[in-house]
């Protein structure tokens, strides 16, 4: 039995060598992550410049807490996407997975402070008036094309451990969508807003991780 198995291994090595085709090594994960971020940043920049302009955004980030929240959201997106690309390749340190933790916690903390600034009101200055469902739809809707593009790039590595790759990738995508929302969301978040933002992010991460094997063509 043991000898049979060893012979199978030997036969398999011959077979693998016989069907070997040349392959082009992947570019470095950091380079590919920066490429995705650059493409998304360019497209989003063009759309924002033409559709809404920077007026509202610049007015909002003049407030320190909002500036911190916005920067933390962007950093969460950048670090999560970089970590997903790094972990998609075998042999990279699992510590990459903790890279987005600090910006993510800062983002949550700053958003929470925004809620406190609103006195935990359910309505906020601008009133509830149906904005929260709009934000939920924005984050989930924008995450779909972003996620498809990201997974298309990540699947080239055929990750051997797809769970952290999918979880970090979808967190990056949802954070990117939440960052872009800042350009369309001209008021502080209420408790309802924050809850729905988190629900949208959780939904994106859950769906992405549930479909990780077909989406990432895991090896």
């Amino acid at each position: 039995m043991q000898a049979d198995k060893a012979m199978q291994t030997d036969k398999m090595i011959q077979s693998l060598a016989a069907q070997l085709q040349p392959v082009r090594p992947l570019h470095s994960p950091l380079l590919r992550a920066l490429l995705w971020l650059a493409v998304v940043g360019s497209i989003a920049g063009l759309l924002i410049a033409h559709a809404v302009g920077l007026g509202i955004f610049l007015q909002r980030v003049a407030v320190a807490r909002v500036a911190v929240e916005t920067a933390a959201t962007a950093l969460t997106a950048i670090t999560a996407v970089i970590a997903a690309f790094e972990l998609s390749v075998p042999g990279r340190s699992p510590r990459w997975a903790v890279l987005p933790v600090l910006p993510f916690l800062t983002w949550l903390g700053a958003s929470g402070l925004g809620c406190l600034a609103n006195g935990l009101s359910l309505h906020g200055d601008a009133g509830f008036s149906g904005e929260s469902p709009h934000c939920f739809a924005f984050i989930t809707g924008v995450s779909v094309p972003l996620g498809l593009g990201l997974f298309w790039m990540l699947r080239r590595a055929r990750p051997i451990a797809p769970l952290p790759v999918a979880a970090l990738g979808t967190l990056g995508v949802a954070a990117t969508a939440a960052f872009l929302l800042q350009f369309f969301h001209p008021f502080d978040v209420t408790v309802i807003d924050l809850a729905l933002h988190l629900a949208a992010i959780a939904l994106v991460v859950l769906v992405g991780t549930a479909w990780r094997r077909p989406l990432l063509a895991a090896a």
């Binding site: 199978q8 693998l16 060598a17 055929r158 051997i160 090896a219």
Partner: protein, 174 residues
């Protein structure tokens, strides 16, 4: 490995032979059963083949290889724990008995056409796994190479295919 990436078959075969003992030593940390160890070695070699384009020639080879071997060992261990918790080996489906009535499940399928018809009712990946492993008698490694499915996926799909065939046969009997 750099030569293998550019298509040098002899270098690739030499590399795979040289690293097999190292992989064996790595997976032995997670498993003591010799047959299982060899299966993990094969699974690691297959995975290495699939992801060989992810090796960066500018970085050390051993951590890359060890990560693949470690992941495939963990997957195999998880699979074994899951199987031992939730599944019972069913030998009866492969056996025939002196009592004709006991063979109804198998003898009920009279012709190759009927078997083929039942196979067509299975999802493609389950059908592919069952045909390769049970009908063509391929090894897991050969079936994995032929189908592009991982060893783990082949095992799961074969199990599901047999379960589904059993249900289909029971449906026909009623």
């Amino acid at each position: 490995m750099r030569a293998a990436q550019s298509g040098d078959r002899a270098a690739y075969e030499r590399l795979l032979r040289e690293i097999s003992p190292l992989i064996r030593a790595l997976v032995r940390r997670h498993c003591s059963n010799r047959a299982d160890i060899e299966e993990m070695v094969q699974d690691t070699l297959l995975t290495l083949h699939r992801v060989r384009h992810t090796y960066d020639p500018g970085r050390p080879f051993c951590p890359w290889l060890a990560a693949i071997a470690w992941r495939r060992s963990i997957d195999a261990l998880r699979r074994r724990i899951r199987v031992s918790r939730h599944e019972i080996a069913e030998q009866g489906v492969y056996e025939t008995f002196s009592d004709g009535a006991a063979n109804n499940d198998l003898e009920g399928v009279h012709s190759a056409e009927e078997v083929e018809h039942l196979l067509q009712l299975l999802p493609p990946r389950q059908r592919e796994a069952l045909q390769a492993l049970k009908l063509k008698q391929m090894t897991l490694a050969e079936a994995s190479l032929a189908s592009g499915q991982s060893v783990a996926a082949l095992k799961v799909n074969t199990h599901r295919a047999l379960k589904r065939l059993r249900a289909l046969l029971e449906g026909r009997r009623r």
